[in-house]
Amino acid sequence: MSFGSFFDYPDAEAGDTAEEIVLLPQWSDTEWSRLLPYTTTRRFRAGESVIRGGDVDRSLYFVMSGDVEVLLGAPRGRRTRRLAVVRAGSVIGEQAFVDGQPRSATVRSTTDSELLRLSQDAFETFAARDPALAMDLIFDLARILSLRLRTSQALMARSLG
């Protein structure tokens, strides 16, 4: 299990916790550059909301620059709790992208940031044009979600064990 999100050390060579889940590690520039045209790019200023909790927006986001924070709770303007800080190079929104449920958390930009967005519509087009790559992507997201499920199960088992 990795607690990288709690100890997001700025140094790349960070201790033992640096193991992280990488999306599509097998993809090279060739594959990524085929996906790029299906994304759109948005810029945010510090403090701007990227995703609002409760929204139905089936998109996958890639943080290209800057930091964003994931906030939990506060449906009616009550206090929010910061769940994680997500830095450049990360992927967010994979759960809603796959299951289409309303966004579980709010994501806010803490610095000026730039994010790529892959919408569900764009993904469908990508899938029709490049079925093999689209399958790679969706399969890898499934792998990651499954990995998380295992983590939760292990955590639960260990905690209760």
Binding site: M1, F3, G4, S5, F6, F7, Y9, P10, D11, A14, G15, D16, T17, A18, E20, I21, V22, L24, P25, W27, D29, W32, L36, P37, T40, T41, R42, R43, D57, F62, V63, M64, V70, L72, R81, R82, L83, A84, V85, V86, A88, G89, S90, V91, L116, S119, D121, A122, E124, T125, A128, R129, R148, T151, S152, A154, L155, M156, S159, L160
Partner: protein
């Protein structure tokens, strides 16, 4: 996740100098006046530390003299900053625990009573911390690895009451696992939930023995009252009992380990001060002579118990959040994508920024994209129709950066004139982004007093104009009559129940959420403002040409000086047995689309069959697919869009649609639609093809072309063939009656296209009020409106003559295809599949009849941007 800084670094540095000084001073006192030193040190200073760890561990970690020594080499830049060797990293915790046990037990027989030894211990610790700092990077040489006080800090400080940012580590070098300075609130939880069994084991072990250690420490007589081995035996027994209790609890209580460790930590803290408070009171009285009454000690014990209970509750709450985080939000990374983008940015591909106001949403746009493409790709609310600037569905206001948008073409200019909005209006589908701009999705209205775009010019004897048909031809005709003739009465009569809407977008009513909102092209008030009397849901039943009247189905009669017919067309339905049963549809009007959506929901439809592989059929099939149905397209001929595409392009399109999930069957003709065999239900469940094949079907939709609505004209005795025959003035065989749109047949042609209807209606209106306008035919331009595929077809797309030149370029890797047909040096037709940015220059070149002979090598080489008129910025080809 790091704690924010509140106290400036120089303040901390000063405090550290004081703290190291104090520690050294302590040593001096211990050496010179052991009695005083020992009481001060072991009686007051050391017993205070656990309380500090408990309340504000970060404060201690900032001012701890050991940490100051450890960090000095980094501060002054003479550390070797080595990485901790892995054996040391793996065992650091054990070494820390070992030293802690050693020093605590040795107090009993050595340090508590021996000043110089205690001073030595302090100096040893200061020296070790310093050496660790010289050798190893960050705090990994002491504070965050082998410091014997760290295990205690981790236990007591896991949900600190006061969080103080670690001011030593700027920048953080990521030296330690689950760093306690970096994120004190979860470090202990992360330890306990670590995947490494040994690592979690050390934590459990330490917290398990801790209460036993404390009890033994305070309850065991100090040597020489008992022998040293006896003392160690007592310690061992107490710690073993404590550890045993811990594991018994862990085994039998069905709660998380963390809950048990927290209870143990709370017990340890309270036990410690239960014994320590009286001792501290004693030390205090011996030092300064103040006697602390027992009530105060009891009060302190009680206070600590309350604080610890609060801490326990906080710690438990924290665990839930931690588990949620740990299990749900481990960050997924895509470093390769970021690197790729950085290289692209470094390669100088600076891209313009587009801002949507209000709301200031900023998008980075690829140069050459239309505003519409950007807006749609970002799921912002906009309607679109023809996507070539003719229908007028997508006007936007360019608030800033108008000069950074591509130039306005002829079609767009005409539409802007028709819409008559503010100067900063552009049609989103036409405006290509070349630089930074700000756009509002709601266009602005023209300022009062702004010059009208058309100078009135009309026959004053005309008092009353009747237009039949409320579609685009009818409304455009009424609009142009009003522009040129400010005073005449205008009656607009239509069978439909809606004001003019964007008919090209009705397939979205099948799958979208917006219903009619957004489809209306003009607000209701527009009709009043232009003094146009609108008769919705009203049928014209008879035209009396001699009396110049139109009879309405409602009983009224309207007289006219000029009559414009714009009743459009209906869907053509080939003979199919059973057509008309529930579940069979055409798609011509907004109400058709809404009926289909309602029917599909009512009957939980799963299978849709669309008869017709033309533009409408494909758009409808796509809409049904988006609604969640399995959509099958039946095409009579051997390929899709046979009126717009050649075989190759058609093949590309078919592959794309099939990948999208549509099923395409060519050479297929429907003979019958029927209900389930043996069922009493009327609704369609099965489609029978001519070759005998049967397909399951819940929704059957015919999209087989149009039939002009000419019954009324025929009955009135106007010359008709397929449509109402008109001359180049759009005048019918009756000089007072004009026709435009889908029912008008000009030079043998019925186009059935929106842009044509607009052009014809303007000409009809102009001539109807006594001015002159000429219609000379339209080059048909069609665009397929299925998401993700850019298909444009213009004019004559197959060579019609042996001398015609065809340039067809394929890009199989990208599934793109484009083709132009050149006759007599001019482009007469084109097919563009996957080249949206070429659509407007190619179309313009065809409409303008430009001679392209000089450009042939460029065209053959694929540089079709060359067709952009001189002065027009050449848009970059988009990467795909």
């Amino acid at each position: 996740m790091q704690v924010r800084a509140r106290v400036p670094a120089p303040v901390w540095h000063t405090l550290r100098v004081i703290s190291v000084g104090t520690a050294l001073g302590m040593c001096v006192i211990l050496m010179l006046r052991p009695d005083l030193g020992l009481t001060l040190w072991w009686g007051l200073v050391v017993p205070s530390l656990p309380l500090l760890f408990f309340v504000a561990p970060g404060l201690w970690r900032n001012i701890c003299p050991l940490a100051a020594m450890n960090q000095a080499p980094r501060l002054f830049g003479f550390t070797f900053a080595n990485k901790l060797p892995s054996w040391l990293r793996q065992n650091a915790y054990l070494i820390g625990i070992g030293m802690f046990l050693l020093f605590v037990t040795a107090r009993k027989w050595l340090f508590n009573t021996n000043g110089p030894a205690s001073a030595g211990l302090i100096l040893f610790a200061l020296g070790s911390a310093f050496v660790g700092g010289v050798l190893f990077k960050g705090k990994s040489g002491w504070c965050s690895s082998i410091c014997p006080l760290l295990p205690v800090q981790r236990i007591y400080g896991q949900t600190p009451f006061v969080r103080v940012r670690n001011s030593h580590c700027a920048p953080c070098v990521g030296c330690a696992k689950n760093c306690y300075d970096f994120n004190p609130a979860v470090a202990y939880l992360a330890d306990l939930n670590d995947a490494d069994r040994h690592y979690t084991g050390y934590r459990k072990f330490f917290v398990g023995i801790f209460p036993g250690l404390i009890v033994a420490f305070f309850q065991t007589p100090a040597p020489p009252a008992i022998s040293i081995p006896q003392m160690y035996l007592r310690f061992a027994i107490a710690m073993l009992l404590s550890l045993g209790a811990f594991y018994v609890l862990e085994i039998f209580f069905k709660v998380t380990t963390h809950k048990i460790t927290t209870i143990f930590a709370m017990a340890a803290l309270n036990l410690f001060y239960w014994f320590a408070f009286p001792k501290m009171a004693t030390a205090l009285s011996s030092l300064v002579g103040i006697t602390v009454p027992p009530a105060v000690i009891w009060a302190l014990r009680g206070l600590l118990l309350v604080a610890a209970a609060a801490w326990l509750a906080r710690t438990y709450l924290k665990e839930g959040l931690f588990l949620l985080q740990a299990s749900g939000s481990s960050t997924v990374r895509a470093p390769a994508l970021g690197a790729l983008r950085q290289r692209q940015a470094a390669a100088g591909q600076t891209q313009p920024e587009m801002t949507i106001v209000p709301g200031d949403q900023r998008f980075v746009v690829e140069a050459g994209r239309t505003l519409l493409e950007v807006i749609e790709a970002n799921n912002l609310p906009i309607e679109a129709g023809c996507r070539m600037g003719v229908c007028g569905a997508d006007p936007v206001a360019v608030v800033a950066g108008m000069e950074h948008l591509g130039p306005i073409g002829d079609d767009e200019r005409a539409t802007l004139r028709r819409l008559n909005l503010a100067e900063n209006t552009r049609m989103a589908c036409c405006a290509r982004v070349a630089g930074t701009c700000s756009v509002a999705l709601k266009p602005e209205r023209k300022r009062k007093g702004a010059a009208r775009s058309v100078v009135p010019e009309y026959d004053h004897s005309i008092k009353r104009v009747v237009v039949i048909g409320t579609g685009i031809a009818g409304v455009t005709a009424a609009d142009h009559v009003r522009r040129r003739h400010p005073t005449c009465e205008i009656h607009l009569v239509g069978r439909e129940t809606h004001y003019l809407y964007n008919r090209m977008a009705i397939s979205r009513l099948i799958y979208g959420r917006s219903a009619m909102q957004g489809l209306y092209l003009m607000p209701e008030s527009w009709y009043d403002e232009n003094q146009i009397t609108c008769w919705l849901n009203t049928q014209a039943t008879h035209i009396d040409r001699t009396a110049q009247t139109v009879a309405l189905g409602t009983g009224e009669t309207l007289s006219y000086d000029r009559l414009i017919l714009a009743m459009g067309s209906s869907s053509m339905v080939p003979p199919i047995d059973g057509f008309g049963r529930p579940g069979t549809f055409v798609l011509r009007e907004a109400d058709d689309a809404m009926r289909i959506r309602a029917f599909a929901q009512d009957n939980r439809a799963r299978q849709a069959v669309v008869a017709g592989g033309g533009l409408l059929g494909l758009e409808a099939a796509y809409a049904l697919h988006k609604l969640g149905l399995h959509a099958v397209v039946l095409e009579r001929s051997d390929r899709l869009l046979k009126r717009q595409l050649d075989a190759r392009a058609s093949q590309y399109l078919r592959e794309y649609l099939e990948n999208l999930g549509l099923e395409i069957i060519v050479n297929a003709e429907t003979t019958e639609v029927r209900p389930e065999a043996g069922s009493t239900e009327e609704r369609v469940r099965e489609v029978v093809l001519k070759d005998g094949r049967c397909l399951p079907c819940d929704v059957f939709l015919v999209a087989a072309g149009i039939t002009p609505n000419i019954a009324l004209a025929q009955e009135a005795g106007l010359a008709c063939k397929r449509g109402v025959l008109v001359d180049e003035a759009m005048r019918s065989s009756d000089p007072l009656i004009f026709a435009a749109g889908d029912l008008a047949e000009h030079a043998g042609q019925i186009y059935g296209l929106w842009p044509t209807a607009v052009e014809q209606a303007e000409v009809a209106a102009t001539n109807a009020i006594g001015a002159t306008g000429r219609y000379s035919g339209t080059v048909p331009v069609t665009i397929l409106k299925v998401v993700g595929v850019d298909v444009t077809s213009v004019g004559q797309f197959e060579a019609a003559h042996p001398d015609d030149l065809v340039i067809a370029l394929e890009d199989p890797a990208e599934n793109r295809y484009r083709k132009v047909v050149i006759a007599d040096g001019k482009i007469v037709g084109a097919i563009l599949l996957g080249y949206p940015q070429d659509a407007s220059p190619v179309t313009a070149a065809i409409k303008q009849g430009r001679d392209v002979r000089a450009l042939l090598p460029e065209l053959q080489g694929g540089n079709w941007a060359i067709l952009a008129a001189p002065g027009q910025p050449v848009m970059s080809t988009h990467v795909s």
